[in-house]
Symmetry: D2
Subunit: 344 residues, 4 copies
Amino acid sequence: MIIVLKNNADAQKVEELKQTLTGKGFKLHLSQGENTTIIGLIGDTSNISEDWLYAKDVVDSVKRIKEPYKKANRDMHPSDTVVDIGGVKIGGGSFAVIAGPCSVETRPQMIEVAEDVKSSGAQLLRGGAFKPRTSPYSFQGLGSEGLKLLKEAKKATGLPIVTEIMQIGHLDLFEDVDVIQVGTRNMQNFELLKELGKTKKPILLKRGMANTLEELLMSAEYIMAGGNEQVILCERGIRTFETSMRNTLDISAVPMLKKKTHLPVIIDPSHAAGLKFMVEPLTMAAIAAGADGVMIEVHNNPEKALCDGMQSLTPKMFDDLMNKVKKTVPFFGKTMAAQVPVNR
Amino acid sequence: MIIVLKNNADAQKVEELKQTLTGKGFKLHLSQGENTTIIGLIGDTSNISEDWLYAKDVVDSVKRIKEPYKKANRDMHPSDTVVDIGGVKIGGGSFAVIAGPCSVETRPQMIEVAEDVKSSGAQLLRGGAFKPRTSPYSFQGLGSEGLKLLKEAKKATGLPIVTEIMQIGHLDLFEDVDVIQVGTRNMQNFELLKELGKTKKPILLKRGMANTLEELLMSAEYIMAGGNEQVILCERGIRTFETSMRNTLDISAVPMLKKKTHLPVIIDPSHAAGLKFMVEPLTMAAIAAGADGVMIEVHNNPEKALCDGMQSLTPKMFDDLMNKVKKTVPFFGKTMAAQVPVNR
Amino acid sequence: MIIVLKNNADAQKVEELKQTLTGKGFKLHLSQGENTTIIGLIGDTSNISEDWLYAKDVVDSVKRIKEPYKKANRDMHPSDTVVDIGGVKIGGGSFAVIAGPCSVETRPQMIEVAEDVKSSGAQLLRGGAFKPRTSPYSFQGLGSEGLKLLKEAKKATGLPIVTEIMQIGHLDLFEDVDVIQVGTRNMQNFELLKELGKTKKPILLKRGMANTLEELLMSAEYIMAGGNEQVILCERGIRTFETSMRNTLDISAVPMLKKKTHLPVIIDPSHAAGLKFMVEPLTMAAIAAGADGVMIEVHNNPEKALCDGMQSLTPKMFDDLMNKVKKTVPFFGKTMAAQVPVNR
Amino acid sequence: MIIVLKNNADAQKVEELKQTLTGKGFKLHLSQGENTTIIGLIGDTSNISEDWLYAKDVVDSVKRIKEPYKKANRDMHPSDTVVDIGGVKIGGGSFAVIAGPCSVETRPQMIEVAEDVKSSGAQLLRGGAFKPRTSPYSFQGLGSEGLKLLKEAKKATGLPIVTEIMQIGHLDLFEDVDVIQVGTRNMQNFELLKELGKTKKPILLKRGMANTLEELLMSAEYIMAGGNEQVILCERGIRTFETSMRNTLDISAVPMLKKKTHLPVIIDPSHAAGLKFMVEPLTMAAIAAGADGVMIEVHNNPEKALCDGMQSLTPKMFDDLMNKVKKTVPFFGKTMAAQVPVNR
């Protein structure tokens, strides 16, 4: 970390700052220019915030050299992390597809979609039991009843399940869930992240719709700092000024995250665009850009879906898409993860 | 709500849609044009989501005429809601100032700042015990110990206290807190909002840094739908492309919210800009634009503050600011709320 | 277009509005609901702006059913437009690569890069003679001298050339230029667009960094309305809150534009990310998402480049990339455009 | 400027970089840390771009200490610039109001509005002759005929006139115009800015709707570098995700610009919100935040306005607003500029 002092910095205050920093265990490297004095901070600066330094009267500006995340940093862990979900691998060259309805609605719907996506080749089953909805008057998900149906679908098909948690108090209900999803609105729900850091479950962490990639990695760091390093990052579209689609898929997040971190990175094209016809081209773009997986909404009857019908594929459309995915993944040098029935 | 059907809409599917809508209790008003058929939906459309309609094959587009929030809507409640905090009034022409440190650090700090802001005229005391920090390695707040110190400061000064909650599990700890703050990162933590709807405490709801005003009102609606109508809205800067300040204060939110809702609207200039020298001009702009209050960070020693020192005023700077506030509020036709010592 | 009137709309003013609209040649379709009156406007509404209607006291809201662009609209022209540049085809299944340095610097540089990109398989040569730079103190391009060098490179290699115009007054200088580029900062320089509409040259129109896709299409419409329908659209990254890369590539723009318009759509991965290592994955994503071409910066010595060295590939890197492009384009069902030496 | 070198930087390449920089006339200040070498660049760095440095292989990161603008920088020119328009002063404590219709439509309209705004106290008259419209099918302004009508209104009232230029070729037509406006879409039309730098007219430079404040100042620098230091900056709303108003007024731009530059800063509340009812609160906020003026749209018959009727005040509304402005400006310590009839 580099601290540029003000030209007219009060000598005594500079001395105090230097002592404070030394007291925190840093070695200082001073560079006295004609007009500018620069302090180089040597040591682990991840627990120093720029703001804390900017608050000092003598500080003109601060430049972080080293990223503020450690466990998520590829520097510390050059090889890819592979998250293993009962044998289904994501990362390190293994590509997985998570598919299923936006929300769990009924037993027949859930079982039917689960069987359909399994037979098309999906390795993991998704379905929302607790649903974050903008309006209190919208369908809020079936809750614990929904989780039960999801587990029945898991039993029926052997597909591991991925579903979203919305509060710490529900954690007990997620015992048989294979991957716990943190939704875009909870990416900076730090209390939740801390608790998830104490579990041993893989966590699918969605990027907040207006969060930077560094903030996403800091949220992963919350989970990892707690001891759980099984984090899958998910880009699902960011909020911009564009109005013709729900969100703007940040495809560049894939190569940038792959450079910065060893964690697997997947794409959710369904939420990104919010429109069915875009799911295929965005899935192809995700594979081409180097993603480790995709998460796709499939509904046996999108017109009757209680949420997100606009973006849900029919099982037939999903089957067509999977045929393309199976060819495209090896074309870009990755392998489709094997379907591995979980212990029921 | 107006539903525009596709030109070539399948007659049977149109019939099904009409029956579904009638089944939900709506009266339909049909308008058959040469090329376009329009359905006007008459009834309470707040529990119909646009997405659900867009998922229907026969639907071309949807236009909501009526806002999707009801209890927060000024149409339903033309006069201003006044939130009363132990006698301190916010809204309906009464302007209040909430002041205090970003985070509670020590007993002397908290007591000293509390006494300072009281003597300058603040009506409410703020201080963070639970702190949402981007980095897991940053100071996370003193937690329940911080709440205790805050309550001591309340006892010492009689100022009602405002502090942030970060998870439902902490709710019991907030019994003696006068106003519960929901931070920007939790604006769409719907589980938390639902629980707060069951309390009887005034809630200070901060706008998410990338949320629309409609989404803010929908979050207020979550609290109000639960039975708690004491909601204070707070604009605290939104995330844009501009990099010279932390966030971009959306001053237009004040007149727009005042038009759409009866709830009081306050401004947090400290977090908006993140820079001390901007607090005064933004406070003045807030008053001029019609805000019902401001929330300002004050620290007895900003250079030593454990967080947000860059934006914290010294007690002296705050005192100068309050002198201007006291003149400016009546100039724009509002009254400064009275300082009313709360029952200790 | 649908016009929703206010509940309490003054009858006489409504009558006036109806007469104004009828006077403009529209047929009106009225739908009188209990509370709401809706006017459906039948006719060519592309010259009616929503704002003009919103200014009427009796109007509550307006909904456009038909897009405001006509010539660019795929509805009017279902098959793909193929832009033909001296035999090099872009669109309709033909994929072309435009490559070259950010700015023309010297004769040897320009000739060397031109020969390199030609031998790697690029079909078109780019190079900036007039450079839009944020700072007046930065290198502004060689101007007409640069155009001369670019034309020499064209002569030497037979590659058609693409270069940016910055003002109408320079149009004469562009006689031997094969494709005139309108840069991101000039996407809404309507006077320039009008003039370009009078030329017979293919125009490469870059999306403004904060413009919607509809605005991009409206700018294409300016050119087309003037009689020049040879417009190539280019997505080059939009401005968002993300700071780790220069801009955010909006990959969804590809499928969305392909749906809305018949014009070819290309991607500029170099400017989008501003970082060398991202050019390959974003190029692959562009092809996968359905783009008709890419535009890539190549410099024989990026470290010495007078601008944009950070994002420029070396000829060797470009050659490796082209080997992948040549395999990927047919994998996704398109054909590489043939290299066709232009008449020198 | 501070250049941080990579840990493993090649010694010879470092040497080359140092020589290049020395060759450009900089003095270098080296700081050799254990792992990091830092070069401090001493001299005028305004013509060094960060990108050029980032393109060097040995460079890890770059930090600019000094702003890249010189003539616009308050450091170089601590006292406020006062722009004097035939005696009407903007800046340095003098507050001016520019008012008039969005576009010049007819002689009676223009004369009537001009007389109305004059009698209400506006010091300058606005009116668009050349209009930048998103659609080629919208009213494009009366062009040179509109300029003639505007000059007649100037003659009739003595109010100096402000109007927008859209291309260099029109410059001759602007001889009798008192202030030339550069619109938001042309803020980075650098060719136009260079030409305006050669004129002696005051320039009203509007911020691009997605441009940073630094970019705005760099555009002002283009004009000033050409020799014309009479630049008035105008914040008119930026593009964000918020949809309830046209743009988001960045009120913080006022104090931030006042800190960074000596140039006057005005606000355009009409374009910012695009809604009539917001013009007053945003005008008040502008004054409170320290602006040197406002620019307001007034139309004698907003319902019939050919553009922007939604946001245009009637003369009566404007008169009411001016009564408040006249009280509010002195309350915040500024003086209303005098109305000074220009030489006709």
